[in-house]
């Protein structure tokens, strides 16, 4: 890449930082230059988030229909998966899978609910009523 070809496109990094790029100058020598961003990778990040948003919406719909417990919604909303939730809460993965059933979720102890609430950064009330608060 030549120095004057370094893209300076709008990016989610705007207002946070510019990033260092390596490129060659007119004499062929490598130099560093700050870049605002590149449209190609901004759109890669963009469609990744569109996909996450879609998964969140799907999960929410299933929670609203009573097919899944609110935990399923928050797992998607916080871009987590069973392994990550398990690592933070200390629950086994199969335990978490059970907690995804609305019937099991209803009977969860306050202590268990608190673990999820802490991880998802919501109150127990919000966790229980996620369809209202989302």
């Amino acid at each position: 890449m030549k120095k004057d070809e370094i893209p300076q496109d709008p990016s989610p990094l705007d207002k946070f930082t510019k990033e260092v790029c390596y490129a060659v100058d007119e004499s062929g020598k490598y130099v560093t230059e700050l870049s605002r961003g590149w449209e190609v990778k901004a759109s890669a990040l963009g469609i990744t988030w569109e996909d996450i948003d879609k998964k969140v919406a799907d999960a929410k719909q299933k929670v609203d229909k009573g097919e899944l417990s609110p935990i399923a919604y928050y797992i998607e909303l916080r871009v987590m998966d069973l392994s990550i939730v398990s690592a933070y809460t200390g629950f086994w993965k199969w335990t978490i899978k059970r907690h995804l059933k609305p019937s099991v979720f209803k009977k969860l102890s306050t202590a268990s609910l608190q673990k999820y609430a802490n991880l998802f950064e919501v109150t127990i009330e919000q966790l229980k009523n996620s369809s209202v608060n989302a």
Binding site: M1, T17, E19, V20, S43, A44, I47, W49, A87
Partner: protein, 338 residues
């Protein structure tokens, strides 16, 4: 010890932490490209059965932690490295280091990293930063990918140091044990070690999924993604490839440009003009990676989605594989100055 730590922005977090920490102990010659090259940072791997955020597990650089370890080792600098089970003990250790004037490299997760843009906050636990001071309850943080320094409260810092999941940092800290200037001769030898190890990793690593053969393997896989995954999912896979290749931290072109810069800087220590020529091959390779990214973007934006477009995408990687194979073969034949 007075706090004289200097924040220098880098393209990649571990290179930056390595460079800044080594400079802080008197290794004045070190630069980001030298740290990357001496640490044999250039790599490629595609792990077929592993998923990251539901997409393919692809890396353009060597395993987290290795660049600092190898670079310090090659320069004869002893390293202190510690992980903790208790956050309280981890904080105490960090506080003691800072009090004695020692800037400390920390492995952290980015999900709870408050000064990062939301769009970048995935559950990725192999980010690196330096803590160089403390004011009240706030830690002074030098994150090499950021233009300026940042501040994290003790709570925020504990959260990122004890992020959970894959590659959990467990409060890991690391820094050079003692101040020690390094001679140009040591750098010269370290460059040779770094290049030879990188030749080995890219050309002779066993199995089809890593090194230059891994690039070829991935190119061939990509040609099947359309049939196997459908256009939409294949697009998401390609977007993940592009992010790993181009995102903040890579210097562009999947670290190939940083490696090109390394070979030019190596030339200052080894007056062998073939290094400059081989540097051009890596520039060319980085450019090809970026052309491939443009092709990928056409696919994930839904503009070009035929099998022929996937074939073109895959062929880019086959071409890159050949180019890098040739470049590393040439590197393995360089006559180094004694």
């Amino acid at each position: 010890m007075p706090n004289t730590f200097q924040h220098l922005q880098a393209a990649h977090c571990e290179n930056g932490v390595t460079t800044n920490l080594l400079r802080s102990v008197g290794v004045t010659q070190i630069t980001e490209p030298l740290a990357f090259g001496i640490g044999s940072g250039l790599f490629f791997i595609y792990i077929p059965l592993m998923k990251i955020n539901g997409g393919p597990a692809i890396a353009f650089r060597t395993m987290p932690g290795l660049i600092f370890k190898r670079t310090a080792q090659s320069l004869g600098i002893e390293v202190v490295r510690k992980t903790f089970n208790s956050p309280a003990k981890a904080q105490q250790f960090l506080d003691d280091c800072i009090k004695s004037g020692q800037p400390v490299g920390c492995q952290v997760g980015v999900y709870f990293l408050s000064y990062f843009p939301k769009e970048y906050r995935f559950h990725f636990n192999a980010h690196n930063l330096i803590v160089y001071g403390k004011e009240g309850d706030n830690y002074l943080v030098s994150d090499p990918v950021m233009e300026t320094t940042n501040v994290l409260s003790s709570y925020e810092l504990e959260r990122v140091r004890f992020a959970k999941g894959a590659l959990a940092p467990k409060g890991q800290v690391y820094f050079p044990k003692a101040a020690k200037p390094v001679s140009d001769d040591q750098i010269r030898r370290a460059i040779v070690t770094g290049v030879k190890r990188n030749v080995r990793d890219m050309l002779y690593i066993p199995g089809p999924i890593a090194g230059v053969s891994g690039i070829k393997y991935t190119g061939n896989k990509i040609k099947n993604w359309r049939d196997k995954l459908g256009v939409e999912k294949a697009g998401l896979y390609l977007a993940q490839l592009v992010r790993m290749q181009e995102e903040i931290g890579t210097g562009g072109g999947g670290f190939r440009f940083i490696y090109g810069a390394f070979l030019q800087q190596a030339h200052a220590y080894h007056k062998n003009d073939s290094l400059l020529e081989i540097s051009k091959s890596f520039t060319q390779s980085g450019d090809l990676w970026r052309n491939a990214a443009v092709q990928a973007a056409g696919i994930y934006k839904g503009r070009i989605t035929s099998q022929a477009d996937f074939n073109i995408m895959g062929d880019y990687l086959l071409e890159i594989s050949e180019l890098e194979k040739k470049a590393f073969k040439e590197l393995s034949n360089v006559q180094w100055q004694k």
